[in-house]
Amino acid sequence: MSAGVIAKTVRGFSGALGRTLVSENSAHERGLLQALDPRVKLVGMLALVVTAALARKLPVMGALFGLGVALALGSRLSLWSLAKRVWLVAFAFTAMIAAPALFLTPGETAYTLGGVAITAQGVRSALLLIARVEAAVTLSTLLVLTTPWMHLLKALRTLMVPVEVIAMLAMTHRYVVLLTETANAMFEARQSRMVGRLNGREQRRLMVNTGGVLLSKTLEMGNEVFLAMQARGFRGEVRLLTEFRLRGWDYVAMSGFAAAVVAAALAGR
């Protein structure tokens, strides 16, 4: 039991680090979306996600999902990996939430299951929710999987996100990886020294103390990082190097995104 909680947490850390690696690797593949300027891709994919959120018709949501699948194939992403990591997880979660709506949504009875009425409005509502979530999650995942994190952050300037916030997001991401590895090492060190079983109270103390030590290390590191930044001449101002340049292919993609968004928006009302 005691090893179970630690092992579960360590597995969670390993999973997070693994996902980071997968994203970075897939973002550097030679594919359709990877070849685009990150600004075009960010604005285009976000517009598609918003269009999926606005759509009110199942065929339109299906078409947006299909577009996501086509873009994934063109970007050399593994559909099996997407199905495992994104589609099945989103489906299981949303279906669990949407299932009671079949019975609870007021409306005309469409079917009867064990004496309980399933309404037509409930079926439609559940299907709309599942389809919309699948389409939106697919499109936003494609954006992340095909864009190196630093490029994605720099592209956020297009949306007028302050430079300071972008710098903080970049630092946060870097230290998420470092602190995850640190916490992982702390739990593994503890696990390797443990021969008995801990009761619930001891497990809680172990988790909270590890969190406390991690927080101490975090704050200490914060001071060290600030001193290092000052040593390098940091005076509270942040500047980003932006080397993005639009090419012919980006203009084609922009037109494609605009056409897809307009078509889906008109058909989806």
């Binding site: 969670g12 996600v49 709506a101 919309r132 979530v133 939106a136 903080m168 998420v176 005076r235």
Partner: protein, 353 residues
């Protein structure tokens, strides 16, 4: 509680982004002024810490495990403004990089967990620990309550956002277009898990980390926080005064609150129509249920309907009732604080001997 894309309508998302943007902008200005260049590394690292602790599997009484957001300890150590930025950064990384929470719903998630959560945690901690000594056990309880209260307040906001979707957004057949459950279903469903598992996880993490920091980094929690040192309770009193002044807004709401009907309402045709409209068009019983009629007069409130009988203006009555209620709560909190303070003194002498 990380709301994914597709559960909220784009207009709800836009409103929540607008509300969050104002808070982010103010928070950036305030923390920049107080922490100077330190803002960048401190907030980034605290955000990273919050992100990592969200992955801790915390064993809870009853054999289950839960995850904490870390908003309680962030608000206590950093103060509400810096805390809301740090937790927002963690949530943004989660949404953009790990797909936990949507991109369109990021404003709502940040508003619920980072903004409202930070202020709730900070307010509760300040209120419960008011006047407590630095080594008082009351501070640990305050930290636990801060975490518990914050996460439940965030969950309540999320439930309200879910619950208003079917009212506002449905198609011609009446099928909800986004989250399908009304407030009556969304609030209990959301709160059940948060009042028990998630709330307990947050309380355990906040209290545990607070105890650890007080033992090992006392300067961080001995005062109210890096960003809010010696600022006093002026902000909290100001907020309380504002809320008091806004209480007459209750008059604007039309009809009776659902489930707060008086026996006489069942005999009034206008009130019966309101009950039916608020209950999915289910007709109200012809007469008040016998149990309701029997128990309704068990206790007569000193200020019925928020208006003392000698006050003719409804707005002034609301204000007076609110002031009376707040006064009673403050008196009870002050008396409890005095009592807990006294209870701790002999223990301190004993330790010293």
């Amino acid at each position: 509680m990380h709301i994914p894309d597709g559960y909220l309508s784009p207009s709800t998302c836009a409103v929540m982004y607008a509300a969050s943007s104002g808070c982010w902008w103010t928070a950036l200005r305030r923390t920049r002024r107080k922490l100077f260049g330190r803002t960048l590394p401190l907030l980034s690292l605290f955000a990273a810490f919050s992100f990592v602790t969200m992955m801790f599997n915390l064993p809870l009484p009853g054999g289950t495990t839960g995850h904490a957001v870390g908003v309680g300890i962030a608000a206590i150590v950093l103060g509400p403004w810096a805390s809301l930025l740090a937790i927002s950064l963690a949530l943004t990384i989660q949404a953009l990089f790990f797909g936990d929470g949507g991109i369109t719903t990021l404003g709502a998630n940040c508003f619920n967990m980072a903004i409202a959560g930070s202020f709730a945690a900070w307010g509760i901690y300040r209120l419960v620990s008011m006047g407590a000594a630095a080594d008082s056990r009351r501070r640990v309880v305050a930290a636990a309550l801060a975490g518990y209260g914050a996460i439940n307040f965030s969950a309540l906001l999320a439930a309200i956002e879910f619950g208003i979707q079917p009212m506002l957004f449905h198609d011609a057949t009446g099928a909800p277009l986004y989250a399908p459950y009304s407030l009556r279903v969304a609030i209990p469903a959301m709160m059940a898990g948060h009042l028990t598992i998630a709330g307990a996880a947050e309380a355990v993490m906040s209290a545990g980390l607070f105890s650890y920091l007080r033992r090992n980094e006392p300067e961080l929690v001995g005062v109210t926080g890096l960003a809010e040192k010696r600022q006093g309770l002026r902000g909290l009193w100001g907020a309380l005064a504002l809320v008091l002044l806004l209480t007459p807004l209750g008059i604007v709401a039309s009809g009776a609150a659902w489930g707060e009907w008086a026996p006489k309402d069942f005999g009034n045709s206008a009130a019966r129509a309101q009950i039916a409209a608020a209950s999915g068009n289910a007709a109200a019983p012809a007469a008040a249920p016998s149990g309701l009629a029997r128990l309704a007069n068990l206790w007569t409130a000193p200020l019925p309907d928020y208006a003392p009988h000698f006050v003719k203006s409804a707005g002034f009555g609301y204000l007076l009732s609110a002031m009376f209620g707040v006064g009673v709560i403050l008196a009870v909190a002050w008396a409890a604080g005095r009592w807990m303070g006294k209870a701790e003194q002999p223990a301190k002498h004993g330790d010293g001997q």
